[in-house]
């Protein structure tokens, strides 16, 4: 049953993916600017321009380009950077993706920790002063302008207190041996203590910035879902059986509230990435966000397209993952 469900769910990602890819293709075609000019410069003679156009396949009609684009993707080929060094896009992405992943994961953990505790407690003390304060926290963080917040943290903790680095991911020569590309994980795996602390110190401010930004949404989601669940009959029934309040709240209620929260988290992934773009630029974090922004500015056609495709793929897989977890957590799906 579960397996059938998962297979079906996995197949469901195909149309979503296809639509995303098509949208990306269309958007990329209307981007202003001539990618060929970006490659050959302004002085190139026509025959050079022509040959480059042909090499990029841009002389083909759109539907052929579209088919080529899809079939390249199918082969896992995201193309090569259009400008400068013509590096394979996937290599470039892989240079930056672990950074974003590391930032996202740690920010996510920060926000989940804050979100779950504050959300649950706010729901328990519904309508109290405490609840009002936490609600305000949730609203405020949602309205937070990341660059501003990040700059303030940088000023306080890096420039004035000199406690933490201003930006970047790690100091030169401190990189752990590459295994996963996640510095914290790699330095643990290679038992490289200095690297671990160095990477950690760089991670603190960005993940707090991003984590706090997302946490408000979590606080609100957890709170409202907990409110809902705490009002459910089975919670009253559990209490009526004499189950201690903390067990009721953190075992019975939270687990149930977690299922909608999980879906929410899947959707919040987009928010996380959006926040990551701004956080990364603020903290010179060498991740996908800064990378993508730069390449958009340089009109690196294929790289932007490849990166966006990659992000789309990522989003689709995350939502797949969320649904799998959902199915795993919810017996109503597991044992249908």
């Amino acid at each position: 049953m579960l397996k059938a469900y998962l297979i079906k769910r996995a197949l469901m990602t195909i149309p979503t993916m296809l639509i995303l890819l098509t949208i990306i293709f269309l958007i990329m075609r209307v981007l202003p600017g001539d990618p060929v000019a970006a490659i050959v410069g302004t002085k190139a003679p026509p025959e050079v321009i022509q040959s480059v156009t042909r090499r990029l396949g841009l002389d083909q009609p759109y539907h052929i380009q579209y088919i080529n684009y899809l079939s390249d993707l199918l082969r896992g080929d995201l193309g090569r950077s259009m400008i400068w060094g013509r590096r394979p896009v996937i290599d470039e992405i892989m240079d930056h993706f672990p950074a974003t992943l590391e930032l996202s994961i740690s920010a996510f953990m920060v926000s989940i920790l804050i979100g779950i505790i504050t959300g649950t407690e706010a729901a328990r003390k519904f309508r109290s002063k405490f609840d009002q304060v936490l609600r305000f926290y949730g609203i405020l963080t949602y309205s937070l302008f990341i660059p501003w917040f990040g700059i303030m943290l940088q000023l306080i903790f890096s420039v004035y207190l000199k406690l933490l680095p201003v930006g970047g991911r790690i100091d030169p020569f401190m990189e752990p041996e590459k295994i996963t590309g996640l510095y914290l994980l790699d330095s643990i795996l290679t038992l490289n203590i200095p690297s671990f602390f160095n990477a950690l110190s760089h991670l603190v401010l960005p993940s707090i910035t991003l984590g706090v930004y997302i946490s408000g949404v979590f606080t609100r989601t957890v709170r409202s879902n907990m409110l809902e669940v705490l009002r459910k009959d089975y919670i009253t029934a559990a209490r009526a059986r004499g189950i201690p309040e903390n067990v009721v709240v953190y075992r019975h209620a939270l687990k149930n509230a977690f299922i909608p929260i999980l879906t929410m988290m899947g959707l919040q992934f987009a928010l996380l990435l959006a926040g990551a773009v701004l956080t990364e630029t603020t903290f010179s974090w060498p991740g996908m966000g800064t990378f993508l922004l730069e390449r958009i500015m340089y009109r690196d056609y294929t790289t932007v397209q490849g990166t966006v495709v990659f992000i789309a793929l990522l989003i689709v897989s995350i939502s797949l993952l969320v649904d799998i977890m959902y199915a795993y957590l919810d017996p109503r799906i597991r044992f249908r």
Binding site: D233, A237, A238, R241, G242, I243, P244, V247, P331
Partner: protein, 321 residues
């Protein structure tokens, strides 16, 4: 029979934005050991509130604002949260109206039972398991369904599980709040029979809450009738049916279509149930009562007891001023 539960002048109010809802407003009643008391009344008359207050679980913004509940010599309204938790499930347990939503959808049936036992009693896991299986068998659920999830059960089966949970620790009192309302007639009859059997077997007291006087009459020894937060009448089942004193009780009995009664015209109670934020002055039933007099409109009637028959109506207060 020994008195197990003594409720005296209990007041439970909900402090809502609209105003104070006087859901239970000065109710007194007793339940003896082994006795089944049926509590009936229209929707919103405060039956559930009364029931849930016995477990100290009145949901916010509700609060017990007055009166006392003495259960087996313990004053429940004064208990701390921890002390109350020890009584819940172990000495007083509860069956809820909607079996579809009263079980945690993420927990196996068996785990519900085992968790309850292990919280109240310090016993090894496998013993808890054995006892849980026994309780399930008792309500007619085969042991092989121990590891199933609630959604795999039908409504009637779930209500059986709820009953198993309620009798699990052999409590003195079970509060059953509309245990059959959500079920079909045939299943309802099955559950009623089950409750009847269990009650004989364990000699438990039951507070059976229902808006359906027919259902109540199948099990209860005594019937209490609530109207708008007041207890208006209480007597033995037979007495209530044969000789209802309060105008509301008799109106209620005549308003429901009964299978025995032949083609006679149904009676209906004029008006609609009062808003408990602003209940009518005096007797709360007076706007709908055919016998209402001036005093009914101004002063709340006393509760009088004529032998074992309690009624709250001016018609039976010998002395008005």
């Amino acid at each position: 029979m020994k008195c197990l539960l003594n409720i005296n002048e209990l007041k439970v109010y909900y402090f809502t934005r609209r105003g104070v809802v006087r859901a239970v407003d000065g109710v007194s009643l007793n339940i003896s050991r082994g006795e089944v008391l049926g509590l009936v009344g229209e929707s919103g008359s405060g039956k559930s509130t009364l029931g849930i207050s016995l477990l100290g679980l009145v949901p916010p913004p509700g609060r017990v604002v007055g009166g006392s509940i003495i259960f087996d010599g313990i004053e429940l309204t004064k208990l701390s949260a921890d002390e109350f938790a020890k009584i819940r499930g172990r000495r007083i347990s509860m069956i809820f109206q909607d079996p579809m939503t009263s079980l945690n959808p993420l927990m196996k049936i068996g785990d519900h039972l085992m968790e309850t036992i292990m919280i109240h009693e310090n016993i090894p896991k496998n013993e808890a398991r054995e006892r849980s299986i026994k309780a399930l068998e008792e309500v007619g659920i085969p042991p092989e369904r121990f590891n199933d999830y609630p959604h795999q059960f039908s409504g009637g089966m779930r209500q059986r599980v709820m009953i198993a949970l309620a009798i699990l620790l052999n409590p003195d009192l079970i509060i059953a709040d509309e245990p059959t309302t959500a079920l079909d007639v045939i299943v309802q009859a099955q559950i009623i029979d089950l409750l009847n059997n269990l009650r004989k077997q364990y000699n438990m007291s039951i507070l059976l809450i229902s808006h359906d006087i027919g259902v109540v009459s199948e099990i209860a020894d005594k019937i209490a009738v609530m109207y708008a937060g007041h207890l208006v009448e209480m007597a033995d089942v037979d007495v209530i049916f044969k000789d209802p004193l309060h105008p509301y009780t008799s109106a209620l009995l005549r308003a429901v279509p009964l299978i025995e009664s032949k083609y006679e015209k149904l009676y209906y109670i004029p008006g609609s149930p009062p808003d408990l934020v602003n209940p009518p002055k005096g007797c709360r039933f007076h706007p709908r009562c055919p016998h209402a007099t001036d005093i009914c409109r101004t002063r709340e009637p006393r509760t009088v007891s004529i032998e074992d028959h309690i009624v709250k109506c001016w018609m039976y207060c010998d002395t008005y001023e």
